[in-house]
């Protein structure tokens, strides 16, 4: 039964192939059945495999489909590795993935490229499953690049608009910077440890490298480069907000629930390596903290409903990084799962809002929509409560564990904890700013829009609502995976500190209420000061990172490309040609045909020779 694991990437791949080869000639209904059905089927297989695996009590299961290549000692295979961690990931990808596919069958109904959409989506799921099931880093890299490709294809799905193409290329190129860092990391690991099989590699690293050794530091730093690229963390986070150019379901699937969390998975998968480099592990925590604060600030200033959610995703992945960095390995993965539930819910809810309001993205043109868009309203309220870690919602449990682990860490732990709590305040603030502005107050446009939410779109929302509320009670079977170095969370945290953690997000929600519902505070008044305006501008631009990269990399590259369009090297050869021509011209000129001139030059030459002879 477990051998059926090879079916997991195969079904979506077959879905992809059949949709591509028929080139959009199938009727929409058939496309929907193939596109969403293949993922549904995969979810069933995954669930069966999961139950069987958990029943068997085994710690891992390895299945080799075929040997990929064998060159000297380099022998990666198409080998799948199932343990608690990949099991959780597999279920998230297929489960949430299926719900999003189902939603898409309704959402994309009016799109002429219906078939192309599902083809790319299926290819994405296949790649993502490859990524989390790979037993070696080369196969993982295959999935890693594959999801990046699908992300590119789907961000630029509406290709007629050049801005979408730009966003797609930006996403691909920026993440590829990280991918290249990761590839170099693989070269380093292989040259030092002689294998890229993850488990063997980790054992070898554990045996060969001392804690804090240069190789461990360098290797984990290079892998971290890949992780921050894919997971949109500082300093490579700039692509994700622009990635919202794609259709909303792909934002839910790729840029919230699955692909962007691949970096978290990568670090968790290579736990041993990061523990050999404690400085880098701590760096992961600081990156997470800086990112979650940066994105939290920025989310408060955005107007575009999807960009707010994008920044909130960046921020929540920041929490996962914080968790990884402080050694709360399973808490980070737990948050990955609950985040997949509530963020998919929020994005799909946003999709319903956008579709119902004729592709309106600006939240300040909405207002008072809770009666008009009831399903979206409930989605947003529940999703935002979970996002803001409202007590006993799914997000509460996972965020709580991460922050407690930060607190337990000696040294910088208290600062990481404080930063995380501050971030939670902003999370409450920005998430309910969105809810209040869109669904409360007066309607500021689209007064008579009707909610578009048929069966296929509403069902996934209701299921995700359920999991966003109760998902925190799920236990994930990852103890055996992380048993090696799980930080032992002290549960003797003082009641005061724990109380702070519960109250702070509620404060955020409350402040948001005072600003946007009761209007006790006024945004306009706040914005009157030039300091606030400056800060707003700075935050709104995502801390000016885009402009920084533009100045540092894009513009110099374009300038270099422009001035050297005609290839400097070619000029050198053109110079040789010119010199030859000039020499030719000189010699031709000497051939005047006048006897007088010839006699003179013969005499002059003789004189010169004689003179030279005498001299030497």
């Amino acid at each position: 039964m477990l051998e059926l694991i090879w079916l997991l990437p195969t079904f979506p791949l077959l879905g992809f192939l059949s949709l591509v080869l028929t080139a959009g000639k199938l009727p929409q209904r058939v496309v929907a059945i193939i596109g969403a059905g293949s993922i549904g089927l995969v979810f069933l297989v995954a669930a069966l495999i999961a139950s069987q695996f958990l029943d068997s009590g085994a710690e891992q299961f390895v299945f080799t489909a075929w040997s990929w290549m064998s060159v000297g000692e380099f022998t990666p295979g198409f080998t799948f590795y199932l343990d608690g961690l990949s099991l959780v990931m597999m279920l998230i990808i297929t489960g949430v993935g299926f719900l999003i596919h189902l939603y898409s069958t309704g959402f994309m109904l009016d799109d002429p490229s219906y078939s192309r959409f599902f083809a790319y989506m299926n290819l994405f799921v296949a790649s993502m499953l490859m990524l989390v099931l790979a037993d070696n880093l080369v196969l993982l890299y295959l999935g890693w690049e594959g999801v990046g490709l699908c992300s590119y294809l789907l961000i630029g799905f509406w290709y007629q608009k050049p801005a979408n193409g730009y966003a797609a290329r930006k996403a691909f190129v920026v993440t590829r910077v990280g991918d290249t860092s990761m590839a170099i990391g693989l070269f380093l690991l292989f040259s030092q440890l002689g294998t890229l099989n993850i488990q063997d590699m980790l054992h070898a690293a554990d045996a060969q490298w001392a804690i804090g050794s240069n190789y461990a530091v360098l290797a984990s730093l290079l892998l971290l480069g890949g992780a921050v690229g894919k997971s949109a963390q500082l300093p490579l986070q700039t692509w994700l907000p622009d990635a919202m150019a794609g259709p909303t379901p792909i934002s839910a699937l790729i840029h919230a629930a699955t692909m962007v969390t691949a970096g978290v998975y990568l670090i968790a998968r290579n736990q041993v390596l990061f523990e050999l480099a404690p400085d880098i592990q701590l760096l992961v925590a600081w990156i997470g903290l800086a990112t979650l604060l940066m994105a939290g600030f920025t989310a408060m200033t955005q107007h575009d409903i999807k960009r707010i959610l994008a920044y909130s995703t960046i921020s929540q992945i920041g929490y996962m990084f914080l968790g990884l960095g402080v050694g709360a390995w399973s808490a980070a993965i737990f948050h990955l799962m609950t985040h997949a539930f509530f963020k998919a819910l929020l994005f799909l809810g946003a999709g319903t809002v956008i579709l119902s309001l004729h592709h309106e993205h600006d939240i300040f043109k909405m207002g008072g929509k809770r009666k008009q868009l009831p399903v979206a309203f409930y989605s947003f309220v529940i999703g935002s409560l979970a996002l803001a870690a409202f007590p006993f919602s799914s997000g509460y449990f996972s965020k709580d564990e991460i922050l407690l682990a930060a607190l337990a860490l000696e040294g910088p732990g208290i600062w990481l904890w404080a930063g995380g709590v501050l971030g939670a305040f902003f999370t409450g603030l920005y998430s309910f700013r969105l809810v209040f502005v869109v669904f409360f107050g007066e309607s500021r446009g689209h007064h008579d829009a009707q909610e578009v939410a048929g069966f296929s779109m509403a069902t996934p929302l209701f299921i995700l609502m359920f999991f966003s509320i109760f998902g925190g009670w799920i236990t994930i079977p990852v103890e055996s995976v992380f048993s090696h170095g799980e930080a032992h969370v002290e549960h003797h945290v003082s009641a005061l500190l724990h109380g702070i953690m519960i109250v702070v997000p509620l404060l955020g929600i409350g402040v948001s209420y005072l600003f946007y519902v009761s209007k006790t505070f006024s945004v306009e008044k706040l914005m009157a000061s030039s300091l606030a305006q400056g800060l707003h501008k700075f935050w709104f631009s995502g801390w000016g990172m885009d402009r920084l990269y533009d100045t540092l990399f894009v513009k110099p590259f374009l300038w270099l490309a422009r001035i050297n369009r005609n290839d400097l090297v070619d000029w050198l050869y053109a110079l040789i040609v010119e010199l030859t021509r000039a020499a030719h011209g000189l010699v031709v000129r000497s051939q005047t045909g006048s006897l007088h001139w010839y006699a003179l030059s013969v005499a002059g030459g003789l004189l010169l020779l004689v003179f030279l002879g005498v001299l030497l």
Binding site: K161, I184, L186, A561
Partner: protein
């Protein structure tokens, strides 16, 4: 005897194609197609062949030619040769297919030149006498010159002449090096020989040897090409007719890489190892520099030409890292790039044939109009930027993996080429296929009705190349196994020679 047959088929087929035009102008292309298909079938018999007294070689023939100078008619094929021969014949079929409707003038003479170029290439991949090797090196050059000069585009004479001079000058350097090497053999053993195995025994450890080695190196890296000898290629490609580009990018460039692996390094192991850091640095510069120049181009064929140079940098890097992974990577890159570059040039040529321009600023939004063409272009661009699961990734990844063990900095620099590759590849897709459709915007200067999608015949060719790349990417082992024996022998030999050198 198979090897003689392989060369003869192409020579005779070429003559027949030329003559057949007298009877019917539609005949030469059929003759050519039959010739290349027969060629491929005969080649396939090489795979299990035992046509050589030496079991290390699948087939060989060694006859006296000019015994007084030690020049023999020595042909032999091992796994490496066979891989490249198969690539040659396969792309030969593709090239005939791409010429099918595009070449309408002097058809017979065209196919004659095409097949004779291929004959020269087959000779180059099998010759084990350096004089004979040089002979075939010239044989593949001259018909290619005609293909560019006669059937090329607006600036064909300049491009053809540039191609000719670059190849000829660098070929001359190689000839001098071959002669000096033969003279070394005379000095050390008392008789002249141009035979590969004899010359391998020549002691090449003096200071002069570095210069002799450079003669080979420059000839091969001009063909490859690599910085700074690459500047003939963009002109040759942008001016050549599509089948010319297919052969040039797919096959001719690979003779340079083959020369490095078979001759330049094994004949001069010590000089080569001293020179390796320079060569690897050159490779990294070549990868980055040409990727950057590619990005700046507006002529789609020039752009693809520069990307070719960039990708060949991985081959150069792999060869001079000189270990098993790196060499396998170089060979896989040769094969995969052979398909992907040929397909991209074919796509660009097909586009030019339809809308009579190569200027990308005239294009945009073609996806809606020609979805199959867009899919093809996307597939091969993605392959070229090194997407895992396709052949180019295997090649470049192995090359980098091996090179890392030889030179960390050159490898890290070269790996940055992966980022630049994504920049220019996706830019082409954006420029040609995405955005608003030009004819609707009203800025297009082409006849919209001529922008037709690929037909079934064309899709068969592209489909074959796609399957090839997927095979190489998902299960490259058969290819790796075929060249493994050759590469291990070369590595072992040079290791022994280097060990014997007194420090």
């Amino acid at each position: 005897m198979i090897l003689v047959l392989l060369i003869s088929i192409l020579f005779i087929g070429g003559l027949l194609a030329w003559v057949s035009e007298i009877f019917d102008p539609a005949l030469p292309r059929i003759v050519a197609l039959v010739t290349v298909i027969v060629e491929l079938l005969v080649m396939l018999t090489l795979l299990g062949a035992t046509d050589s007294p030496d079991p290390a070689w699948l087939a060989s023939i060694n006859a006296a030619w000019m015994p007084r100078f030690g020049i023999g008619f020595h042909l032999a094929a091992d796994g490496l040769s066979v891989l490249l021969l198969l690539l040659t014949a396969f792309l030969g079929i593709i090239a005939v297919g791409s010429a099918w409707n595009e070449i309408t003038e002097r058809v017979g003479f065209f196919y004659f030149n095409l097949l004779w170029t291929l004959a020269g290439v087959v000779g180059v991949f099998t010759a084990l006498d350096l004089f004979l090797f040089f002979f075939f090196w010239e044989v593949m050059l001259i018909p290619m010159y005609f293909i560019i000069a006669i059937w090329g585009h607006e600036n064909k004479n300049y491009a053809a002449m540039k191609f000719f001079i670059f190849t000829q000058v660098s070929g001359l350097l190689m000839l001098v090096s071959i002669l000096v090497l033969a003279y070394f053999h005379y000095e050390q053993f008392g008789f002249f020989s141009f035979d590969y195995f004899d010359l391998l025994r020549v002691n090449t450890t003096g200071p002069l040897e570095m210069l002799v080695m450079l003669g080979f190196f420059i000839a091969f890296t001009t063909k490859l090409p690599s910085m700074p000898f690459h500047s003939w290629l963009p002109d040759a490609h942008s001016q050549a007719p599509t089948p010319g580009s297919v052969i040039l990018a797919g096959v001719l460039l690979k003779t340079g890489a083959y020369g490095l692996i078979r001759f330049a390094v094994p004949l001069f192991p010590e000089a080569s190892m001293q020179f390796a850091p320079v060569a690897m640095t050159l490779a990294a510069i070549s990868i980055l520099y040409c990727a950057k120049v590619a990005f700046a181009q507006t002529d789609i064929k020039r752009l693809i030409a520069y990307t070719s140079v960039s990708h060949m940098g991985f081959v150069l890097l792999g060869v001079y890292a000189w270990n098993e992974q790196a060499l396998q990577g170089a060979v896989m890159t040769m094969l995969a790039h052979g398909l992907s570059a040929a397909a991209l040039f074919m796509f660009a040529g097909g586009l030019q044939h339809r809308i009579h321009t190569r200027d990308m600023t005239q294009m945009g939004g073609f996806l809606a109009k020609v979805p199959r063409m867009a899919t093809v272009a996307l597939f091969f661009s993605i392959a070229a930027l090194g997407m895992p699961g396709l052949g180019n990734f295997i090649g470049e990844f192995l090359a980098l993996l091996g090179a890392f063990q030889a030179s960390i900095w050159a490898t890290v620099a070269a790996a940055l080429g992966l980022v630049l590759a994504s920049v220019y590849s996706l830019w082409v897709i954006q420029r040609v296929f995405h955005g608003a459709y030009r004819a609707e915007v009203g800025t297009a200067q082409f006849n919209e009705s001529q922008l037709l999608d690929f037909d079934r015949r064309e899709m068969v060719y592209y489909g074959l190349m796609m399957l090839g790349l997927v095979w190489m990417g998902m299960y490259p082992q058969p290819f790796l196994d075929l060249s493994a024996g050759t590469l291990q022998t070369l590595l072992e030999n040079s290791r022994q020679l280097l060990a014997a050198v007194p420090n």
